[in-house]
Symmetry: C2
Amino acid sequence: MLGRTYDGQHCSAARALEAVGERWSLLIIRDAIFRQTTRFSDFQRNLGIAPNVLTSRLEHFVETGLMQARRYSDHHDLRKYVLTPKGLSLQPVIIALTAGGDHWAAPGGPPVVYVHQGCGGRIHQRLACQDCDTVPPPAQVRTRPGPGARTT
Amino acid sequence: MLGRTYDGQHCSAARALEAVGERWSLLIIRDAIFRQTTRFSDFQRNLGIAPNVLTSRLEHFVETGLMQARRYSDHHDLRKYVLTPKGLSLQPVIIALTAGGDHWAAPGGPPVVYVHQGCGGRIHQRLACQDCDTVPPPAQVRTRPGPGARTT
């Protein structure tokens, strides 16, 4: 799990999936971002995940810099797992996955919605073109090599 | 793999991850969306993925309705795998993962950028509040139960 799983893929999505592509990883990140969960026992209870799997995921997040482990009790040697800015930057991934699942698998409406803390309005994710300021339909979004593309 | 892996999670992100949460799944979807890859042999060559894993992922996508399998040669009984609208709706997930990886793991700049086919401008993903039309900072995005939340 700790290697470059997608080593042959020169692509930032592949790099992100090396950090969060294992089973349960993104649901742990979801709870950390949106439920402010930090303690092993809380992740375990909310997710119903096997303790050995949870340990493995949290340690991987610490190794990859998505979380910091901080001791919160000397007596019990207990640690809490706190998201770093790198971990928090996965918020759009969770919101995009939610939108997908809402679309296919939520016949009664979304189980959870995202709202703006400031005004209570619903939050939506959009693509926008920074040059012409339009919202392009999905078929008009293309890829091209960026500045970090390999030239060899 | 075919069960409700995250059965206890009443959340659309969990439902989406049941379809695309396995290793390699999202990179296969990425190639289907942005390289228009449809053939087994092309996925296999682009990704360097083990054939048995690729078979399993493509069959799962057909079962979950992300792809349709269509025969393209009677002689060889070869099939191509074509994204459905459900599969195409994962485009924002790939773009969000790419943005995360660009941020952490692309010191030479993004290997791949997303552009608007219409004008060639760079595409970015943004959150927006539909009530006050602002772009909220990540910390101001909260969750609340939606219309499909369980009431029991």
